[in-house]
């Protein structure tokens, strides 16, 4: 009997992940471990597979090989023959609810007001009553500074406001882990600050976070661990003061140099 839960404190454990799109191998044996309360930043050049890694984690793509466990529960595992399979759909959905995801392009629901964007999943997925979740949703909106915008439709918001709504929407499902895929890349430079501030606040509250980002200052100051990916592999990883101040690998040096 395999024990489904282990308590070594790892919120995410991805091991030996391989993923190809046709002939293009995008992930070549990537392993990622995230401890509870840890903030991990993933950096790397365009096309290196950062988004794909996050997307495999929340089932927007399916891995070919490797295994994934979330909070000690198996989400995907290798089956005889070498390929990997995700667990049954309902089970996978339950496990993935522990993770909230924030996209580069927000993906807010345009036909719902800001408040209804937050309420939608707790209502439909958890089957909760509107009155029961309303106070919490309003509190979340206050927290990201958008309570006055609760009755507004997303199209009327600035990019920074949209992304803060997206963060609040993910938090409304009470995830234990938050995944961010370049949350500020689609924003005008002057709007990135308000989003990064909300993320910083989450980190201070000890949320477990995986952040794919081009914001080197954010990675340096907020992350506990930095991973540099290139061509589908983790080239170098370590504490931010190590990776940023004393990168060991040539590719890391070249990338960091290009980011200045």
């Amino acid at each position: 009997m395999q024990c489904m839960t282990n308590n070594d404190g790892h919120m995410i454990e991805m091991t030996g992940i391989h993923k190809s799109f046709g002939a293009l191998e995008v992930l070549r044996g990537v392993s990622l471990t995230v401890a509870k309360g840890e903030v991990v930043a993933i950096i790397g050049p365009s096309g290196s597979g950062k988004s794909t890694l996050l997307r495999c984690l929340c089932r927007l793509e399916a891995i070919d090989r490797g295994s994934i466990a979330v909070a000690g529960e198996t989400l995907a595992a290798e089956v005889p023959g070498g390929r990997s399979r995700y667990v049954a759909d309902a089970e996978a959905r339950r496990i993935c609810r522990k993770m909230g995801m924030v996209f580069q392009h927000f993906n807010l629901f345009p036909h719902l007001t800001v408040l209804d964007n937050l309420l939608e999943a707790p209502l439909t997925v958890k089957g909760l009553a509107r009155a029961d979740i309303l106070p919490e949703a309003e509190a979340l909106l206050r927290k990201v500074g958008l309570w006055e915008k609760r009755a507004t439709y997303p199209s009327r918001l600035s990019g920074g406001q949209k992304q803060r709504v997206a963060i609040a929407r993910a938090l409304a499902m009470k995830p234990d882990i938050m995944l961010f895929d370049e949350p500020t890349s689609a924003l005008d430079p002057e709007l990135t600050g308000e989003v990064l501030k909300a993320m910083r606040q989450l980190a201070e509250e000890h949320m477990t976070m995986v952040v794919v980002t081009h914001e080197m200052a954010f990675a340096r100051e907020v992350a506990h661990w930095v991973i540099f990916m290139d061509e589908g592999e983790i080239v170098e990883e370590g504490a931010p003061e190590e990776v940023f101040a004393r990168p060991r690998m040539e590719r890391t040096k070249a990338f960091l140099g290009s980011m200045l």
Binding site: R93, G100, M101, H105, F106, V125, Y153
Partner: protein, 217 residues
């Protein structure tokens, strides 16, 4: 003037037949069209393919031919054949035909919704049916209102085809009066009746479009 008033009675009766055919068709073909659209985009190739062929047949042949086939042809099909009275026969042909057109409108509408909407719903834990019902279809309605409105107005006028089954709809009633009286006035009156019906529809769709205008995409 008295002559026109004398026309109203029979023409209202004809309009009742026209409206019945219109409402039966709308009420049945919209949901059927939605079901066909879902089947068309399904990942089961056999289902999607079969619906594709169905849509091609219904849109590729004249509605008039389909009407005649259901009424005169269906009884001769071995074993499965049934003889339908005029109204049900016409209703079957209209529903099957319009469902095909609505299916294409809905399919295009559903496929116009960005992938990010599905992804946003999925990472929040929503199932495919929940995503469709709560996220995708409400947005599809807004996008398909203009083409559905067009199709609906066309239907009002297409109902006049049922004259071939000798049903006394507005147009056939009008024509018999013209032939009886050798006077073209009934045609004018009929035009006014059709215009009134399409006016009401246009107005209703405009109201709906306004209601969906509360949000932009």
């Amino acid at each position: 003037m008295d002559y026109i008033l004398s026309l109203i009675g029979p023409m209202v009766e004809g309009t009742a037949v026209t409206l019945q055919m219109f409402f039966v068709t709308i009420v049945l073909s919209l949901p059927l069209g939605l079901g066909l659209a879902m089947a068309r985009i399904s990942r089961f190739a056999a289902l999607s393919g079969a619906v594709g062929v169905y849509i091609w047949l219904m849109r590729g042949t004249p509605l008039m031919l389909q009407l005649l086939f259901v009424y005169y042809g269906l009884p001769f099909i071995p074993y499965a054949g049934v003889t339908l009275p005029e109204f049900p026969a016409a209703a079957v042909a209209f529903v099957l035909n319009y469902a095909a057109y609505f299916a294409e409108i809905f399919r295009a509408g559903i496929q116009s919704i960005e992938r990010g909407q599905y992804e946003g719903a999925k990472v929040l834990g929503m199932t495919y049916p929940q995503t469709m019902r709560r996220i995708v279809l409400p947005q599809v309605i807004k996008r398909v209102l203009p083409p559905v409105s067009n199709e609906t107005i066309t239907l009002v006028k297409d109902t006049s085809l049922i004259y071939v089954l000798a049903m006394n709809d507005l147009l056939r009633v009008t024509r018999s009066i013209v032939q009886r009286d050798f006077d073209l006035t009934p045609f004018m009156v009929a035009a006014v009746f059709y215009l009134a019906m399409t006016f009401v529809l246009t107005w209703m769709f405009e109201k709906m479009e306004k209601r969906y205008a509360v949000y932009d995409e």
